[in-house]
Amino acid sequence: MSEEETHMTFEAARQCLLQLKKRLNAELLGQEAVVDQVLIALLSNGHVLIEGVPGLGKTLLVRTLAECFQGAFKRIQFTPDLMPADITGHVLYDMKAAQFRMRKGPVFTNLLLADEINRSPAKTQAALLEVMQEKQVTLEGRAAAIPSPFMVLATQNPIEQEGTYPLPEAELDRFLMKIFMDYPNHADEVALTQKITTGHADDLEAFSHNGAIISAAQISALQGLAADIAVDAQVFDYAVRLVRATRDSAAIQRGAGPRACIGLIRCARAQALLHGSDFVLPDDVKNMALPVMRHRIALSPEMEIDGLNADQVLGPLFSAVEAPRA
């Protein structure tokens, strides 16, 4: 690993991120906000839960992101009969070598796509708890480290409810952000349709395979750089006040915890870096508040009955929080 890779200048980081954004947006048309948020999660060393109807390019986004840097990419299709060992791996006895040998599961990778994560029962989902938080897997009492950077991108379908298992709170809290993936607008959908159907018999052929543009070490360097983005004390205070506002509202049964404060500042830093700024603005915090906190709260039964979702409750709540006073 070269010195240039481990210590990246701010300008170099900005250029690198611009290339990354450009590449991703070129492949995934009409999802700029989602691309930004996924990159923010990557820079924040966090995991994302992507919720969207099928066919919006969730898998394509993860696959393209993995191709953008020289890292490993694994995919797990969560099914009702998936076992925890199918994710983490297991230890087996090698008859030839006359010793136990660890068979690593798909979590030993840089980017892990947990497709339709809510189709597996809670015990299988819980297999990700340790690896998401500790970046390690314990097998037969021995902890095995996961390669860095490590990022879990889980997807779930918001429509289907039958045969699905809602993610437990502990699991949800380990996702740095919950990203809503919506339909692209008309112009982007036209371009997307034209790109995929013209001259390509298979959908996958339509996507370019231009190779990596960033290394895993550079990703780690970018993460380090994001962690050094300046944050004023008032911005810290603002972030905490936003999180605490969720605990005082009658519309919310369970507010966000301290991990939300940490995640919010990390994301705000990453967004500042992504925008080419070396300091965090209150706007960065406010922009990241919804994706960071929408999955960490539980609405009160009255709000559920009224058919309101977390965004509809949190939006007015955040608007009422006083912005930082300089």
Partner: protein, 522 residues
Amino acid sequence: MDLSRISVVVRMRSARQAIDLGFVMACAWWKPLFLSWLIPSALLYFLLTVLFHHQSWVAIWGVWWFKPLLDRAPIYIAGQALFDVKTSPLQCVKALPQLYKSDCLPWLTWRRLSPSRSYDLPVTVLEKLKGKARQSRLRQLHRENANAAICLTMVCIHLEWLLTLGAVGLALLMIPEEINVASQAWFVPQEGPMLWVQSLLSYFAMAFVAPFYTMAGFALYLSRRIDLEGWDIEIRFRHLAAKQARKPAAGLAAACLICFFAGPSFFDPPVWAAEISAQNKGPKSGSASSRAPEYERVKKQILEILAGDDFHKPVMTQGWRLKKRDAENPNGAALPEWFIRFVEFLEQNNAGPNRIAAWFGRGARVLEFLMWSGLAFLTLYLLLRYREGLEAFARNAAAKKQQGHPPNRLFAPDVRPESLPEDVPTQVRRLWQRGAARPALSLLYRATLSKLMHIGDFVFHEGHTEGECLAIVKQSGEAALCDYTMRLTLLWQALAYGHHAPQSEAVEALLTQWEALFQHGQ
């Protein structure tokens, strides 16, 4: 007929109550009734059995056919017993020929299958009516209780059959199982002694049912006569006459009433029946015409007594009722009674105008106190009752007021125009030259926001960040204002959150542009 000696309670009864009374009478006088029916019928049964001993059905059929005659003796005995007259067997035997002879042929021929026999027989046996008089009487009687009498006949027919079959069934139950008996031959015998056994059982069933049947019909007849002739009223008058016997006038009236009502006898047809009979028979009868002057005299006496003081005792009643104003005040212009009393009260108490005013004043003060107290209590109650809604309303009103008027403080600094120096650029330059970069730029940003809110009518909330304020200004489309606000916001954000001090030239340029935008614009 002496109604005072009647042995049943004389009152109006429904048909079912009357039948019930008949059954009670049958139980009470069971022995004479049963024997009076059994002995003649037994003789007849024996005679027919002897005469037609090869045909067992003739005996039972003969008894059944002669039922209209056999039922007469019980009715006769009951008619006597009703008024506490005991009938000896000898008397009964002596009366039988007369009883059987009366209207014998019709009852054994075309009236034999009459379903209301028990109800109609007393007319023949007790009233001895025949022909049209009897028909008129029956029409009168049949207006009530006829259906009940028919139902009674149907029930009793079935009861006779049930008793007969029940007796056969009981006998079969008594036979041990080891003995094979053709049960069907017992119930429907074709030949042999079983025919006689069944005939005998049928006869006893008829004998058992007959007293009940005849007494129930007689009770229906009795009830109908009480209803028609007012026996219960007559008994009341008798009691009244006994009480008023000491007073000559009242005693006379009571005596007249008794005469009026007690004229007919139980065993004679009633008055109206006699009148009908007289009309039918012509001048031979003449009982009604002979009684007419007596009735006129009695009627006259009754009217005289009713017009006397005994029936016109004045009674004084007191109570409140509405006055008939129109009758009292035909002109309708008279003063109301209460007002007259009020004026009289004032006159009696020598109340002059001053006293009246003082009196009204005291009342008004009390009334005022009560009203104010009530208002205070009502206000307090409403405040407590709707405190949550009022708090919400106050919050909304404050929020609306905030929307309508620019906030005084935004992002901590005071943005009211009066809180800002008159010459903002000069003050900013002075601070900048002193090295107080943050206060200088803060003042400039605060003054800019103040101008935007109070002059440009932009609405900023406390929750708006600097970036959101800039976005609001950009929505206005004013290029110069947007450009200036953007440059100032970026400088301010870099200083406030990035701690990057701006260049002096940039600050000076902003000040110069501020003067052009806001000071000259004023």
